[in-house]
Amino acid sequence: MAARQATGTPAADHATFAGGWNAPWFRRFRRDKMAVAGVIVVLLLTLMAVFAPYLAPYDPAEQHIIYRLRGPSEQFRMGTDEFGRDVLSRIIYGSRASLIVGLASVFLAGVVGTVIGGLSGYIGGRFDLMVSSVVNVLMSFPSLLLGLMVVVVLGPGTTNVIIAVALSLLPNFIRLARGPVLALREREFIVACRAMGASTTRILFKHVLPNILGPISVMSTLWIATAIRTEASLSFLGLGVQPPWPSWGNMIKSGVDNILSNPWLAVYSGLAITVTVLAFNVIGDGLRDALDPKQKTL
């Protein structure tokens, strides 16, 4: 009902972000307590990542070997790892790796995937067939496996992990963008635009893009959570952030190695990942519900 409001493009199937602070979708979003909590958590995490040097009580790589594998105490609020490094400081700094990889890889995959998917759907024909086939092949790999293969070829390190995670998400974005475009292409207002002599670029940017932005934004938020999990998994396997720098994934790895000496290590880093992934997930759910009230889940 409300989804069909004027947004500059005639009769859009999907609601968009237009309308400012008082747009119906935003009002619905604000009412979703879980989603708002998610936003707050993500904001806090972002602040934590940005201001890590001011918040962390210790240098995250500084070793105090005589205090190794201690539980939480006055001196080390979350205890220490096998080298006597402060776990709290490492958790704080670790948020940087997770957020940077999560956001950068989704952004990268989102932009590239939307362009490829959009073009593929709009142009159609052989190009579409080719893209779809490649996507189908890539989709048959679990995203972690795909990421793993890419990192193995490129080598470990944050930049390579971003590329790897982006590549592992790319097929999802391509498919996501292609579907609606395929449907839109035949819609009257697009056909009308074409008949009026509008250029392909103009049609794509002015009419097609705003119509697919909604679902892409929703899925992006959800996939940030996937990206963070993939990064943690790669780091857990020793392929992500390299020592001595912390990432939640490599902290869990060290926590598992020492789980019987100091279980707190795995608990805290595991919690950090859980909370972050959960936050992005509830935001994504909230956005989806807000933007598409017809499919409201119970």
């Binding site: 070997i65 096998e82 020793g238 020592p243």
Partner: protein
């Protein structure tokens, strides 16, 4: 580019291991009633089971269960005075000590129907060991052998270039002393690596890459059929996995973690933890052909920046000690007298670094093994060096790849841990003689290129090898150790006893003599024909 890619492909095992591990630990089940001993091995995989090539702590105990030497040490000790017969029943030596005659045991059969063991096999084994083409890493230990002759099928003469006071010790079934089957090596070729044919109490049954090695009892073993029906080595590179598997009795014994906390915890769980010596020497070498490590001041600076106490603290004071000489403590010839030991002095380190032209430090990358006996120390030094402005980036690879990469001269700093025959000669020959420089046809494990660049200790090692006056021999070894430290080719930092854990029902079949001056040679258990599982 290709080689870069290849090296990264080596990371794959790391990932695969995690998955494989989870599976192997639970999938394997011994046939009902069979007395099969399950051992958690601390490596992700083995690179070879050919005894002339087995080098790492995962490969060696498997090989030892399948092969024999001409002579052996009494189980559980390294008592050079009590070397006992093995494949040879008795032996004689001529007046000047250059010709040794060994009378072989008759009727010993090779595993899997490869016929009877004869003098031919002994000749073949030593020629193979000596061959540059074959390229065994233990070549230097048999360099003194001039010729091995088969007098008749059951008599072998070994002629030496010069009399060597440690001849028998070098012939024990350890690195260089294993006898292989001529027929099997020739027939199997490349396949022999994972289809080793020996004479020992256990024989190869299966090799499952990244999962396990299964050995079956050799019922015709010449010292009597083993009490066990078989051994299964399960690859469990993850410490916590091994520990949990021990607790749940999924495995009967496992490679230990040489950490105090771990030992205390295992003992409190009712498990037996054995510590064996004479101890693993922990040291690093600088690749003196690779800038900036070709600069003496840089090497000295890095050495001064290392706080050995941190490593000892990490390993546990009861299990480790600071090592300050290139030859480990307790090995014949070890000394620290008159030697520059580079005691922790970060101030001095910074000063030397500035003098070397790096007032703000520098950055370098190295490959590092993921093994828990390597990676933590690299991380400790990473922190030590960071304190003086030097950044070391670690490119972490699996253990077998690390071994391969450092032999390709790819690292500026090489970490290495080794247990060898407890005499200075073996350690010095393998790590500091110019013949042992990696990349040479005679390469062993000299990663520093000492001997080709900077200084040489070749003449000292060679002279000492045939010196019968023990006093003079010690002096020569001391001089070699002094030079190595003076030019900062290496930085020895710790000596550690290895640990193994076993269930209380595992009976080794012999008594393990506790660490003392000359104690257990072997880094890890040797499961022999007397090993048993009592009432599991």
């Amino acid at each position: 580019m290709l080689s870069k890619m290849r090296s990264h492909f080596r990371l794959l095992p790391l990932a695969a291991a995690v998955v494989a591990l989870a599976l192997t630990a639970f999938v394997f089940a011994a046939p009902a009633g069979a007395k099969v001993m399950r051992i958690g091995s601390g490596v992700a995989d083995v690179g070879t089971l050919d005894p002339h090539f087995a080098t790492n702590f995962g490969e060696y105990p498997i090989v030892k269960a399948m092969f024999n030497g001409l002579v052996d040490l009494p189980p559980g000790t390294v008592d050079m005075e009590r070397i006992q017969p093995d494949l040879a029943e008795r032996w004689e030596v001529n007046e000047d000590g250059t010709v040794w005659t060994f009378y072989l045991r008759q009727g010993v059969q090779w595993h899997h129907g490869y016929g009877e063991f004869t003098a031919e096999d002994v000749v073949f084994s030593f020629n193979r060991m000596k061959s540059e083409e074959v390229g065994s890493p233990w070549r230097s230990e048999v360099a003194n052998i001039k010729e091995v002759r088969a007098v008749d099928p059951y008599t072998v003469e070994i002629e030496l270039h010069a009399a060597d006071p440690f001849t028998l010790l070098r012939l024990v079934g350890y690195h260089s002393g294993f006898i292989v089957s001529k027929k099997a090596v020739e027939e199997l070729g490349e396949e022999y690596r994972f289809r080793p044919i020996g004479t020992g109490p256990f024989m190869i049954e299966e090799y499952n890459p990244r999962q396990s090695v299964v050995l079956a009892a050799n019922k015709d073993y010449f010292k009597g059929a083993p009490k066990l029906d078989g051994l299964v080595f399960l690859f469990m590179p993850d410490t916590a996995t091994r520990e949990l598997a021990l607790r749940t009795r999924e495995i009967d014994a496992a490679d230990g973690n040489a950490e105090q906390i771990w030992v205390d915890r295992m003992r409190s769980q009712g498990l037996i933890v054995d510590t064996v010596g004479p101890g693993n020497g922990y040291f690093l070498q600088y690749n003196m052909t690779m800038p900036p490590f070709d600069n003496l001041l840089v090497r000295q600076a890095l050495s001064y920046a290392i706080n050995r106490q941190d490593v000892v603290e990490f390993l546990g004071p009861a299990l480790a000690r600071e090592l300050k000489s290139p030859v480990p403590m307790g090995y014949f010839g070890h000394t620290t007298e008159g030697i520059e030991t580079y005691d922790y002095d970060p101030q001095r380190a910074r000063q030397l670094l500035a003098e070397a032209g790096y007032p703000n430090g520098f950055t370098f990358d190295i490959y590092m093994s993921e093994a828990s006996s390597y990676l933590p120390f690299a991380q400790i030094f990473q922190a030590h060096w960071r304190a003086i402005g030097v950044t070391m980036n670690l490119n972490i690879v699996d253990h077998a790849s690390y071994h391969a990469l450092v032999r390709e001269n790819r690292n500026g700093v090489i970490l290495y841990n080794a247990t060898r025959l407890p005499i200075a000669d073996v350690y010095l020959s393998q790590f500091y003689h110019s013949d042992a420089i990696v990349g040479k046809p005679t390469a062993i494990t000299n990663f520093s290129h000492l001997g080709d660049v900077v200084a040489s200790v070749d003449h000292l090692i060679e002279e000492a090898r045939f010196e019968h006056n023990a006093e003079r021999q010690r002096e020569l070894y001391a001089e070699a150790q002094r030079i190595i430290m003076e030019v900062a080719a290496a930085m020895p930092y710790a000596q550690r006893y290895s640990t193994m854990a076993r269930q209380p029902y595992v009976d080794l079949g012999y008594e393990l003599i506790g660490p003392n001056h000359f104690d257990n040679l072997f880094e890890h258990y040797i499961y022999n024909e007397n090993t048993d599982l009592i009432g599991r």
